[in-house]
Amino acid sequence: MVQIDIPAAFISSMLFLDVGRTVVKREAKEAGEKRPAAYYRFLFRSVFFAGAVIAPAGIYLLAGWPGWEQIYWTERVENVIFHWVNAMLPALFVLAIVLGAYFGHVLGYYWLTTGREKLIRPTYLTLLVAVSVLVLVNYPSFTLMGTYQQYHHDPQAMTPVWENPYDFVLGWVLVMVYFTAAFVYLLVKTIKEA
């Protein structure tokens, strides 16, 4: 979901830094005023995860099921074809994901190297909870498959997602497997590095 994907990029960046804090702090101390290699290694990891995993997964769901992917907050993403303004929304979505990863990294690194590392974990955990609450308060939007108009005017016409309309669940599961596998791989890599 759009509401999850953008914060997820930010959260992932901070999480990677949190897990790899030992090596980041050590290399930052050794590098002195300069940025250490760890800064760029972790940035690459975060941006790669955002650009190669979160963004494609997000665009996949936004292109295939635009209403559900943004839990029916706007009808604009259902009308992107031949619409020069609306078509910018998916593009801005990709941009926001990557920038979210970048800012999560920059802020996390700044906190880590200026004695404010205690802020990192509460920040990303709080954001994770906030995003989860945001989605949950929009119940039952994420359980229904349909259009913006249907959700807001005729929800009875919508299909519950567990009935796997249009093979949505199959697609979603595959995307989540990809996301999870990539995340676990990068997390384990970071743990080993630390």
């Binding site: 250490p36 290699a37 760029y40 290694r41 940035l43 690459f44 941006v47 790669f48 955002a50 650009g51 190669a52 963004a55 494609p56 665009i59 996949y60 769901l61 292109a63 295939g64 099921w65 635009p66 992107v80 074809i81 031949f82 619409h83 020069w84 303004v85 609306n86 078509a87 910018m88 998916p90 593009a91 801005l92 990709v94 941009l95 990557v98 920038l99 970048y102 309309p165 249009y166 093979d167 949505f168 199959l170 697609g171 595959l174």
Partner: protein, 184 residues
């Protein structure tokens, strides 16, 4: 158009390599890592969104009317999966361009980097010329393409979207090339 998105992405990688020539020549792995991160971010921020914009806004035009299925990806998981290919077409060629440029610079063949990106520019021009009608006559769908019902590329609002994305991409490439040169 996807047909030119790939050579343009390679061109971007080569231009960034030339911009960071001194970083590459330094032999410092940290500096090369910086350049790789920079290229990845550049592709993800300045190339990938444009590809997504045109593919979701004008899917038939974006793929030069090669495939009809692009007009109908709603509720179709196997078609929507093309999103992965789309983003890969923006990021992977940029990276390849950067690595190729880096390789040429390390081998002392700097001039080939410039020759390379000029060649990509010429290739892009040739592709546009070869697909002139398809490029400058926009057919909303594949069905309209078959029926010959088009509107001009220069028609608002299509041209407005194109102008904004073109300025966004080319402007950023020039700015970051100069920034890399200065930083080097």
């Amino acid at each position: 158009m996807l047909a030119i998105d790939v050579p343009i992405a390679v061109l971007s990688g080569l231009v960034l390599a030339e911009g960071g020539e001194k970083l590459i020549k330094s032999g410092d792995d940290d500096k090369r890592l910086f350049l790789r991160v920079f290229a990845l971010m550049y592709a993800a921020i300045f190339i990938a969104p444009i590809t997504v914009y045109f593919f979701l806004g004008w899917p038939a035009w974006e793929v030069n009317y090669m495939w009809e299925w692009v007009d109908d990806i709603l509720d179709k998981p196997h078609r929507a999966g093309f999103a992965f290919v789309l983003l890969a077409c923006a990021v992977v060629p940029t990276f390849l361009g950067l690595e190729l440029g880096g390789y040429l610079i390390r081998k002392g063949k700097e001039k080939w980097v410039r020759i390379g990106y000029i060649a990509m520019l010429v290739l892009t021009g040739l592709i546009i010329l070869a697909l002139y009608d398809m490029t400058f006559n926009v057919f909303s769908t594949h069905e309209k393409y078959r029926a010959g019902e088009s509107y001009s590329f220069w028609t608002f609002p299509f041209v407005a979207g194109w102008a904004i994305t073109a300025a966004y991409f080319w402007g950023s490439l020039i700015v970051f090339y100069l920034w890399l040169k200065k930083r080097s």
